[in-house]
Subunit: 284 residues, 4 copies
């Protein structure tokens, strides 16, 4: 019998923590973890609660009932079974470090998901995807003037493969607002190779080198129509000195990118991340 996890959010009200806990208890469940957050400024209550339903209960039914109860409290609930494996599409271009890192972690069991497919605007990693990691690969060339077609094809593939999450593992194409808001059936996580909001846009390591900063960073965020502006899930930095060339920044930054992206994807897959407004809450 799998555990259930609910990620709740909505307007705050007194007694809300006790009410959700009581509902689970009265239904014979045992709370394994519970964590909550109040954003006083935005008047938002957010909770993540994980529980073991009573023996013999149907997990899907209990999840649905809990969702209805949450709705009666004015809360939106996203509920996941512990044995569910979200379906993930990985997008990659020519640079393979983040792609290989995700795939190796997935192979090692670190990422609780299925890889629905890998898609790329290049064919560099086709053999690795198919033969080494044994997942489907789709080549979706992106001609600048026909970008919309490429996006439509990607969206169609995501729908066909029941994709729950797209991960841009250094996918070097800006996804359009139309894709992100309308076409794409699932959220998109991107890794940007700077400490946002510093150095948004192109060539952040060059920008960092020129500005003479003493730290470089990486930022995993949900992609939104405004470039590099979506809710931030995770960030990390490394110290650098005047000795580091742009090439060194690229190399050191790739280590950050790999870790930050993998951590963000892992948290998302564990139903730990809730985005609201321009922010996220991450229940680590």
């Amino acid at each position: 019998m799998p555990a259930l996890t609910a990620l709740l959010h909505g307007p705050d009200s007194p007694g809300i923590v006790a009410r959700t806990a009581s509902w689970i208890f009265q239904n014979g469940g045992n709370i394994l973890h519970a964590d909550q957050h109040r954003d006083a400024g935005a008047d938002v209550f957010i909770q993540r609660i994980e529980w073991q339903p009573a023996a013999g209960h149907d997990a899907d039914a209990e999840g649905a009932q809990f969702g209805e109860y949450a709705a009666s409290l004015g809360l939106h609930a996203k509920i996941a079974r512990g044995d569910e494996r979200p379906r993930v599409a990985v997008l990659v271009s020519k640079q393979g470090h983040a792609f290989h890192d995700l795939m190796l972690r997935w192979t090692a069991g670190e990422l609780p998901c299925d890889i629905a497919f890998v898609a790329s605007n290049h064919t560099v990693w086709e053999a690795a995807a198919r033969e080494h990691y044994r997942v489907p690969f789709f080549h979706i060339p992106v001609a600048p003037e026909r970008k919309h077609e490429a996006e439509a094809r990607l969206a169609a593939l995501a729908r066909e493969h029941d994709v729950n999450l797209l991960v841009m593992a250094r996918y070097m194409q800006v996804l359009s607002g139309d894709f992100l808001l309308r076409l794409c059936p699932a959220p998109v996580i991107n890794i940007h190779h700077s400490f946002l909001p510093a150095f948004a846009g192109a060539k952040p390591y060059h920008q960092a080198h020129e500005r003479g900063v003493k730290l470089i960073g990486a930022t995993a965020h949900y992609a939104t129509p405004v470039l590099d502006d979506g809710p931030i899930i995770h960030q990390a930095v490394s110290p650098i000195t005047h000795r580091h060339s742009v090439e060194d920044l690229v190399r050191l930054g790739q280590d950050l990118e790999k870790q930050v992206l993998a951590q963000a994807v892992r948290w998302h897959l564990q139903n730990r991340v809730l985005a609201y407004g321009k922010k996220t809450v991450v229940f680590e």
Copy 2:
């Protein structure tokens, strides 16, 4: 009306999270924060719960009633009012960095406590304590062969001044098991200038330099009769290189010591730290 905070621990049992939440709710309280931990190996349940009692309720009475309810669930409860200010004694020897750091943070309002007194086996910081920070100062010389007397005097002072916590801010005396287990009326937090368990005992920076480690650390822990072996509250490290002399390690380490000790004391004062066995749970 102050909020109440309970730090609970005891054997785990089903429904325990829902029960404490419900008790508060049924008494008209509103839960502000709740966090819990299960140590499966040790079969220990630990919870920190902070709530706003109903208007008109007596905080002390409600705290006592909650404590009785927790006891009926087999849980030990430590309950604190949000407006309580624990009374802290600061112990210092000749090196003043951790002492000044604590006192300045206290002056700036970062540490929610009263400083009951400063005690030292030297008089170096007497004027600073009295005139600059305006707190009582006691000089307790420690003659090696009459250490017990000094400890008895310190314990007596702690009792007279209703001390709730003693902080060894680089107090260069090993407190005896008799003092720690029997004489002293309150827990003692110590800062050790290494990443424990590496380099316990004397001259850890010299040990680190000799061993050629590439990081130095500091560890805040509760003092127990076995030297540098008590439950760890907080630790941090800094990178070093072969260029750093022992003197550099001392200087860099002092920054770690200050931050690690202040953070540990702050968490303790906020009722966020529970020690059990050789470990702590820190509800950040």
Copy 3:
């Protein structure tokens, strides 16, 4: 006999490392440390070299002669005696954390300088400066419409007291380009409470909280007429979560500000920092 330190910069040329080393050797000196950097893009050679002159040599004379030799190689040289103590003016407003931190480090011998005076647009820290740290204090009120007068007075004080460095220890006044480029006789180090270039300008912790970043930072830089745009000397960051309020960011950030500023000042005092263009080289 004090050691000498030269900080050299100028156009790169073959043999330059060997030439400076040979000059010192042929004059009977012994090189203690030497470090250099080439910025290929800017065609700049930068070197820091520290040596012990021969017994009986006059340090000032040898320094001057070395400077002339460096000039003959096309290099600008800043030369310092190891026994020199630069004279520092500390500027502070109402928030005292960075001020106290600097003064305590200075008292403890961590900062090889003399404190010429403390100046403030408020009187909050007058007694602490005079009585606790025993340094001169000047109150320079800054009326918005008469800022120029205040800057002129500060510049005059800096000249009268032979000041070699001004440190803005959270001095909450923007210094004008006229002051920085014309009036002030010495470089100015500022601490900005964000990871620049993110969140320049006012209220960076509020900006960081609003944007939902997962790290906060602090940046020490030389002040230039463009606000928060000067060459960066040092930066550091701390991880934060959604749980941290703006007040928490301020508190955590103050720890960063103290350390980053003190480190930057220390490096500057040790003749380790060379600013060129928008960047610095720091020979740690």
Copy 4:
């Protein structure tokens, strides 16, 4: 024409920095980088110097001549050509994270070496080595009572393949003193999954969890006959909390292991690491 790098060490003497610089200059070379360290306690002078020989010079001849000159100053010199590619053998057992990380970095051009072969006491990674990374693989089973045979075979392979460095990428066998001191033709770098000297020996993550430390670490060091006691090249740590199970520590620790090992190997390959006594100097 390749650059040359010399790593020198020996007793300190006056003028030594100028002498090596002058030799290079007088031979028409141009110094690209030079860095040095004095260990006053051990009376050891250590220098790394990188230079571009004059056009038309034979790099091997110039390196040999410089070595002779260094010897005349009492210094031992290890000299490498910039176009040399050391030959590396990678040892792995069942856990593949460090192995894949090294191989992917090598594939991406981050590690300036040739992979002579991969050897393992298991066959788990045979196909990956041969087919994915296209390097030779040798299965060397290690029967407890016949360990010496396995070591002899490994040493023979290392000799046959002209191996310059062996890397234990979580190779779960303790190499004997006989192997390390006598049989093996090259230095051995090991990654230990703790912050040494804390938690040497078996199951360090279990030890760390039991002790309740708040940081876990990884240490790359040269293997010596005393287990986990060799000169440390690099270390890093990650913060943990009571929420992390032993399994979490293993997962988080693997990220540390990968980075720390790769960085140590990279520095070694760039002739930046000199081990003496129980320490290393790393010229970053």
